[in-house]
Every structure is written in structure tokens, then in C-alpha cells.
């Protein structure tokens, strides 16, 4: 599998960081690596600092201790190519769909012809071709989120961070979008770090799942998902993984032997 050969290569992302806001410790020396082209899901209870972690990965928040390295260098949005899909609606209402999707490319100073080609290609990929000239207020919430996803995948960013991007969508839209993201990820070969509090979503999407504890956040468990895609949420293997994850998320009766926990100083 591609993942196996990728793991042998130097990691795309290497995190060994702590973060605190004043006396509030958000992350207590959190440590993990992400291989190139890996789809990593990070799962944790609400308020465990997932968004803080993503901000550190995006390089817009410096960890107060340790480091976040991307390709061996500290994360910095100006020097590295990172894209971000936000949980809340983030399209620019004053730009039409085409210009919204082109935003990331234009910031990077991509030549005009290339922007046009990449934007129309990505719009086809997310099924928004034909909506180029629509403004966000003219399309549905699901389509707006697809615009945001297209904006992230249109750039050459080889690291894409997704912060609960489907949380505001209804179930059928959500499922369709999960399939679409997997499809784009497979075709474009990018490294994705996907944060969610939805276990099924994490198991459905990820190559690997990191389970975070409540604040101060630590990595409670690391669960590789080896099920073949497309995954069937009703299969026994899926259910077993789900039970494993739940055990870590609800620590009552947690069984440390079931899941492989990373070697970190706290453990």
C-alpha cells in the first residue's frame, strides 16, 4: 500500500508541542508524526483543544513549548503550502464561486492561466461546474462548504487541514461530502489531517486515528484503520473499531491493552 512506502519516507508532519494560554494548559506535550499522503483523523471530546492544535499545524499559532515541523521546518503559512477547511462558513460573500475557489491560488501568486485551469478542474471535481458565477448567498450551505473544500484542494498545498468541515451539514450531504473528500484526496494525493468529534466519520475516512483526551489534551490512543475503502459502517470490523474508539473517548472502563498508545512521557 502507498501508506507503507510513505511511512518509510521522512514524515510530512512532526509534532512535539505543548501549548498553554496563561495558566490554562491546552496541550501537554503532544507528539505524533504524519506520513506524506496519509489521511489522519484526530478525534477528541469537545473543547479538548483540537482547533488550537490545527492552528499550530497551520503555523498561525506558535506552540508555547516544543515544535511543529512540516517537512522538517517550523510550520509557517508564508513559506509552506498549507490549506485549511474551516468548520464555520468561510466563503467570501463578495466573490462568486470561481473567485472564491481561486483565493488560495491567487495569494500564492499563481499565473492567471494556471489559476483558471486549476479552478475549473477542481470545480468539476466537487461537482460545482456550472455554478462558477453564483454568489455564496445563492447556493446552499452544503455547496458553500464544497466551495471551501475546492478552495483548499485547488492549491498545490500538500498538507490540508480540515476542522470538522461537515459538522453543520445534514446527514445525507455529510455522507456524500465524505465520499467526495476521499475521492479528491485519492486523486490529488495530499496529506490530510482531519479533525472531528464524530467517531464514525474518523473511521470511515482515516488511515489512522488519534484519540485525544480532554484538557490538557494528550494522545490517548492511536488506532490504525486498515479496512479497505469504501468502508461499510455496518461491517463487524467497523463496529469493533468504533467500540475501541468509544472506550478511549469515554474513559470509564478504559482498557489500555486494547489500543496501541504512543510512547509519550506521560504514559
Amino acid at each position: 500500500m502507498a501508506r507503507d512506502q510513505a511511512l518509510a519516507a521522512p514524515p510530512k508532519v512532526e509534532v512535539n508541542a505543548s501549548h498553554r494560554y496563561g495558566a490554562l494548559v491546552v496541550h501537554e506535550q503532544i507528539r505524533f508524526k504524519v506520513a506524506a499522503n496519509e489521511f489522519l483523523c484526530i478525534c477528541g471530546p469537545s473543547g479538548c483543544g483540537k482547533s488550537t492544535l490545527l492552528d499550530m499545524l497551520a503555523g498561525i499559532l506558535r506552540p508555547t513549548g516544543g515544535s511543529v515541523l512540516i517537512d522538517g521546518r517550523p510550520a509557517d503559512p508564508k513559506r509552506q503550502s498549507i490549506s485549511f477547511v474551516f468548520q464555520e462558513p468561510s466563503t467570501f460573500p463578495w466573490l462568486n464561486v470561481r473567485d472564491n475557489v481561486a483565493t488560495g491560488l491567487r495569494i500564492k501568486g499563481t499565473p492567471r492561466a494556471e489559476v483558471d485551469a486549476k479552478v475549473s478542474e477542481t470545480l468539476r471535481l466537487v461537482g460545482l461546474n456550472g455554478f462558477e458565477n453564483y454568489y455564496p448567498h445563492q447556493i446552499s450551505g452544503g455547496m458553500k462548504q464544497r466551495v471551501a473544500i475546492a478552495r483548499a484542494f485547488a492549491t498545490d498545498a500538500d498538507l490540508i487541514l480540515m476542522d470538522e468541515p461537515f459538522v453543520s451539514l445534514d446527514q445525507p450531504t455529510r455522507e456524500r461530502m465524505q465520499g467526495e473528500v476521499l475521492d479528491i484526496w485519492r486523486r490529488r494525493r495530499r496529506t490530510v489531517i482531519f479533525v472531528t468529534h464524530n467517531i464514525e466519520e474518523a473511521i470511515f475516512l482515516g488511515d489512522r486515528i488519534l484519540v485525544l483526551s480532554a484538557k490538557p489534551a494528550r494522545i490517548d490512543a492511536e488506532l490504525p484503520v486498515t479496512l479497505a475503502r469504501p468502508r461499510d459502517p455496518l461491517s463487524p470490523e467497523f463496529m469493533r473499531l468504533r467500540a475501541d474508539c468509544l472506550k478511549w473517548l469515554n474513559p470509564t472502563g478504559a482498557d489500555a491493552g486494547r489500543a496501541r498508545a504512543p510512547a509519550s512521557p506521560q504514559d
Binding site: Q80, S90, P93, W94, I107, P136
Partner: protein
Amino acid sequence: MDAGPMPLPTGGEAASGSGALLSRGVITVLWNLVSLALVLGLWQLAAFLVASPFFPGPLKIVDAFVQLATRGDTYGHSLLTHSWASIHRVLVGFALGVALGVPLGLLMGLYPGIYAGTRAVIEPFRFIPPIAWIPLAIILFSGLTRFAFLIFLGAFFPIFTATLVGVARVEPIHRKVGVVHGAGKWWILRSVVVPTVLPDILGGMRVGLGTAWLTIVAAELAGGISTGLGRMMINYAELLQVSHVIVGMLVIGFVGFLMNECLLMIEKRLFRWRWQVSL
């Protein structure tokens, strides 16, 4: 039309057989013409009944208008000369107000510390009406400079304040979209802050234009010049020529209305992305 009651009443907008053929726009224009004709008719009737030289009817006004437009006033300045003099002064002062109000509003909106630290200097000026500056302006400046200064004072604060308030409307998430993709401060200003604040700026400009227009007439009434709509009105008021004074008033109303319509048209073009343009 001779048919009985419609089987399915569909509310106030449902038109009868002939009305449905006309678009809503045409109906609006027709209603405006009807109300205008009604007012003019009543005015003419009242003028006829009062029969005083100080209460001219619309026909007298038209006479005065034609006379001012073709032959000019007692000094030979035509109505166009007077109108253009006023418009020119307004545009210069207004442009100054925009050129200073927008950048200062953006700066102080983006760096609230600067605003907080200078409030005691800026805010009291807002409460000195431009008209209260006229005596000082007469002493300090002459000609176009005087008018540009006064109109600037009138236009600046609505534009500055609207811009300042508008900056607070910038969504942190929109800024973050830029930052995570590696955008610098300049990109965020140009591509996030300005598009967000632009509707407020345009709104402030419409208010500022109103103030500017109000100020110019007052400033011209104060004298010291020979042209301008305000000047023309004062001249005729001294001659007790009421019709000519009213022509000046109507031209002021009409030009102000046209300027506002121009700004509204710009808004409609710029803000197609919004649900609707508010009036």
C-alpha cells in the same frame, strides 16, 4: 374588467386584467407622475386662490426657470453657471472628505489603539456643525478653498465614522482564510477588509454627500462670491422674487437627488453579491 370577482384573490399585488400587462416598474413611474401632477395641481389652485406675488404657482416657477436658464440672472450668470459652481465646490470638498475619511477610518478601525488614544481630539470636532465653521472659514480662506474646506468638514465625519464602524464587521474567519494560505497584511486589507467595509463606506458617502450639499448652500448664502445656487437665491430674496428663489431650491433638491441616484447605481453594481441594496 367586466368579469365578476376573481375566483382566486392573490393579494394586493395581483393586478386586474389590464394592470397585469404592465410591469411593476411602469406602474411605479405612473404612480409617481400621478402624485406629482396632483401636488402641482393643488399648488397652482392654492396660488390662484391666494393671488399674492409672494405665493407663485408652478407656472410662474417654470417662467422663472426658463428665464434663469436662458437669459441668466440680474448679473448675467445663467442657472447652469450657478449650478456648476455649486456642484464643482461640492465635488472638490467631497473628494477630500473621501480621500481622508476612508484611509483614516480604516487605519483607526484596524488599530483601535490609535482611535482610543486620539478620541478626545477627533470626537469634539464631530459636534461642531460645518455651518458653525463658516465665520472662521470666511476669515481664513477665500474662493474655492473656503468652500472645499467647509464641505470637507461636512462630508468627512459621516464617511470616517461609517468606515471605522465597518471595520468591526470584518469576520475573523475571513481574515484567517487569508492567513492560513500565507497572505500578508496588504492582501488582507485589500481582499478582506476593503470588500467587507465597502458597503459601509458607500453608505457613509451618501450621508456625507447630503451633508456636503447642505453645507454648500449655507456657505454660499454667507456671501463673498458671485456664483452658486445659494448666492443666486440670496440675490433674488433681496429682490423679493420668490419664484426665482424657489427655482434655486428645486434645482438644489434635484441635483442632490441625482447625485444620490448615481451613488445608488454604483452600489447596485458593486454589491451584486448582497441580498439586496437597502435604501
